[in-house]
Symmetry: none
Subunit: 199 residues, 4 copies
Amino acid sequence: MEEVIRVPKQKRAIEKKEKIIDAGFKLICENGYYNTNTAEIAKKAGVSTGIVYQYFKDKYDIFMEGLKKYGDEIFFPILKIDYKKYNLNDLENTLKDIIKTFIKNHKVSKTAHEEITAMIHSNQEVANYFYDRELLLSEHITNIFLENNYKVDHLNEKVHIMIGMIDNLCHEIIYHKHDNMDYDAMTDIVIKNIEYLFK
Amino acid sequence: MEEVIRVPKQKRAIEKKEKIIDAGFKLICENGYYNTNTAEIAKKAGVSTGIVYQYFKDKYDIFMEGLKKYGDEIFFPILKIDYKKYNLNDLENTLKDIIKTFIKNHKVSKTAHEEITAMIHSNQEVANYFYDRELLLSEHITNIFLENNYKVDHLNEKVHIMIGMIDNLCHEIIYHKHDNMDYDAMTDIVIKNIEYLFK
Amino acid sequence: MEEVIRVPKQKRAIEKKEKIIDAGFKLICENGYYNTNTAEIAKKAGVSTGIVYQYFKDKYDIFMEGLKKYGDEIFFPILKIDYKKYNLNDLENTLKDIIKTFIKNHKVSKTAHEEITAMIHSNQEVANYFYDRELLLSEHITNIFLENNYKVDHLNEKVHIMIGMIDNLCHEIIYHKHDNMDYDAMTDIVIKNIEYLFK
Amino acid sequence: MEEVIRVPKQKRAIEKKEKIIDAGFKLICENGYYNTNTAEIAKKAGVSTGIVYQYFKDKYDIFMEGLKKYGDEIFFPILKIDYKKYNLNDLENTLKDIIKTFIKNHKVSKTAHEEITAMIHSNQEVANYFYDRELLLSEHITNIFLENNYKVDHLNEKVHIMIGMIDNLCHEIIYHKHDNMDYDAMTDIVIKNIEYLFK
DNA sequence: TATGAATGAGTCTTCATTCAT
DNA sequence: AATGAATGAAGACTCATTCAT
């Protein structure tokens, strides 16, 4: 019976913790770690400053839990893609699809990534996170090719180059800071290049 | 009475200002803006904390002057290259040369860049600096091609793609975090790809 | 609406209150008032933090009730001794007995006393408690002598001196921090001195 | 030349540091470590909160420096006495002199001691301080006797007992909480007892 | 009654900036 | 011009106490 009564309490507590993570991580991603203080986080989460420290060791802990919770989704959404759905016989459309996926979460990801990047140097845990995921991303994409019987030399290297190209392209498309750029053309060029890469 | 930021005219004064910029910018690039305090900067510069504010409006100003002074050298050394020296008939060696130039300053540049990137979002001036230089870099490289009578469609886009590829390649080579990568092969692949791009 | 401190009447409630007093007073005696927090007390007592404030006005109240409950037992166990049992014709053995009694509870008492003493200055109630008990202790011991027809001048003063000597002796014996001390000899000397005192 | 100019600055800085120690240690001795906050200390010292941390690592450091500076003077003034001045042939007057010395600084000492005692348990450094001084005090008094060719058994033990008696006596005299006490008589009794002790 | 989540005032400490000298 | 001591606002974190359930 006690169990039954306690459950909603736990649920509420969990929800509150989630709210703090969400608020904290969002603020940090938007404004940076040092431009975000615990009072703001608490306020945005709709809680008092005190409760924050009931759920988290310190401010850094909030951030780290946010990174664990949303990191993949924000920075590496492509990891969630089921590569079995791809048919690399139609590489062009596959790439277009991947590019679309990249773009979809790229905007928030890029800002967040840049606000956070500085922490990679001062904090090993953050550095490890990104290192691990980049490795996974490479492996993941490589697997897509392997599954589709793409047999090329230096697959690892080529995948890495490809990811970089797509990443740059997406960044460019999203921010399109350069008004003398034709993004459709750019996309085509990138795709052609990748096709050349894996020929 | 309005505070007056002194413009040093005497040699010693100028040297002092330079020392502060050098010390401050170096520390910020290495450890980040928020992990560097003015006392450290003054100490490393060999001056008193008070004098800092005779030459600079605030801590941010030190950083900004450092960026103006060293930014190009660190982040965009390639802008300093005389493109007339290149002969694009030998594109391969030209690219190898460019890659070498990138790599040379890339290491310090990359750490610095990552420590600083976060400031792009909170500060328009920093954002503008990088935006302007990226534009210049594109133009600069584009000019190398134009000077060498490379006439291709979408030159701007291709140059941008090329710069991205080189940038990624250099980053990978310098940090070579991935032990399953063959960097020589990777370099060759990138060069081949760029050649394909401009064919 | 005024807060009401509940006076527990049901057995379970009374037990709960006792548990809180016991846990709280013990922790405070061991670690000090400011090094003990209510969460710890509640946890050690096996109750929720909230319930504490149903039985006690505040943290200080817990301590004070603990002092009232255990103070005599810990700090003044000698007050519980039935002085009729003593035969001061055999002063030596009587003193040895008293010393033994002192020592028995001295260890816990001394730590507790030292952790608590600071509160004497900031709180009149605590000060009064110790003042009253010291008085009682003097009276009590004095009575032992009176009952045994010890008629000496300045009995009050002598009793006070005696208590001090015994207290110091016990403290020394228990902590025996000084390795150049012969505690048996010391005890003998003290007893001799007290005998001299009441001759 | 620089040296010459710098000296007064250093002097002022040292004075300020002293002021903080004095204010901090006094407040802590009077009100206790946990009842004294850095803002109060700074205010009483006539400085800003910030400067405190230029001179001291933390609040505890202020206390500890105060203990080192004033500890002996407050808690063990007798250590400063030149024991060569004593002639133990006239033990009575010597003791009266010692008692006077004890009493002089006893009042502040006792309050301070009690406020501080709690820290002995949580902090080894404080514990060591008092342990060392008590040892020194014993040695010091013992030396007075040795210098005066007092040859008795168990000198250490007797000295310890004597110090305890004097300490208690002084405490009683200063606070004279017990209105049924004749302090002159008590002093005489104590002196007689000590004489008996060393006979 | 009982729970334990929640509150928010209070504390220590840091650091960009100012000021007396 | 130069020093470095001084300022004080701001931030992270704690904890006695209250409150919704």
